[in-house]
Symmetry: C2
Subunit: 209 residues, 2 copies
């Protein structure tokens, strides 16, 4: 028993056959998995270790504390999200209409929430407040991207809610972040979901006169 991966050290940029994924990443994946599915409490060092076929103490060879593990997951999640959105916006034609810019942004956000590394994106909501506060700055930077997007739309006259963006942005993002829930409940695809969000935000649900 105990097939394991064949525990060999080093091996960062080496091109190997199966999955030379660094142990560090495997641990982060395991921890994120547990947190998202069973909560922060259930994410004990022993539980994480079991998922990567190790004993709890061995984790301390790769990380200096449990806190470091959680923090790295948190950072990776929000930083990936930020980078994707920032790049998407940057690569947009300067004269793209607001509706298109919004669609692109929503697409990136949603696909990240349900994509292959969705684990990292959903860890945040399961953490105790004390830890949450540590990534507040970075999360505000992400919200700022959206803020600027809307501000541009209003400056060009394409969007006009006449309202405080400080209210609109978290309101809209709050709805978007529930995406995985509704997708599960309705069986909709991420494209359908994105379309609904954009259409509803732009035009509302009131019967058109």
């Amino acid at each position: 028993m105990k097939a394991r991966n064949g525990q060999r050290p080093g091996g960062a940029g080496v091109a190997e056959a199966a999955k030379p994924k660094s142990m560090r990443i495997e641990i982060l994946d395991a921890a994120a998995d547990i947190i998202v599915r069973e909560g922060y409490d259930a994410c004990t060092m022993r539980a994480v270790a079991a998922l990567v076929d190790m004993k709890a103490g061995s984790l301390y060879y790769h990380f200096k504390s449990k806190d470091e593990i959680v923090e790295e997951i948190l950072n990776q999640g929000i930083e990936t999200l930020y980078a994707r959105l920032a790049e998407t916006i940057r690569n947009l034609p300067k004269e793209a209409p607001f509706a298109d810019r919004l669609s692109a942004a929503v697409g990136v956000h949603i696909s990240s929430l349900v994509g292959k590394d969705q684990k990292y994106m959903h860890v945040y909501e399961h953490l105790p407040p004390i830890i949450k506060r540590r990534s507040r700055k970075m999360r505000e930077r992400y919200a700022q991207l959206w803020h600027d997007l809307f501000a541009d739309g209003m400056a060009s006259g394409e969007a006009s809610n006449g309202q405080d963006l400080q209210l609109l942005v978290p309101y809209f993002l709050g709805g978007l972040n529930r995406v995985p829930e509704w997708m599960r409940a309705s069986g909709a695809s991420s494209d359908q979901v994105a379309a609904l969000a954009v259409a509803t935000l732009l035009d509302g649900i009131s019967a058109k006169r």
Copy 2:
């Protein structure tokens, strides 16, 4: 030292001077307070006991377990919210326009989220998944109220997104539940927030043609 409340037993319906609030409720309040502000982990029996000037063991005179405390907070929160919305909808004139019905519902939801017993409303989000699942049924019943509200609006032709309500309801509610956050960030009143939510949902933010 140790002023305390003057530990007298019984006293349920007795009219006394200061606050004859039952110990049971005081404990629930304390626990909810800790959970919302510091998370579920921090809500230890010893921490709760300290808030009500007792020792941990004494809590077991009022509750048979920590689980019972949490479950009672959870039930009280969601049941109060359900009762308020159900009554608000019931007391609405039958021929009230959809926009008014929506406004009323949003008003109830938001005022509960920031009202005097907001503590109980926000406990849910801090609990480990295993406990969350216990109140899932009740929360689905609450969502059903909203679902019916929207369904009526679409049936009467006042609203028409042409979309799946299974998607729209959680999307809208997800945004609403972030209310306390944005209020803190923007300094807006709950009325402003409610107005923004209703207006945005009905008409969207696109510049009117």
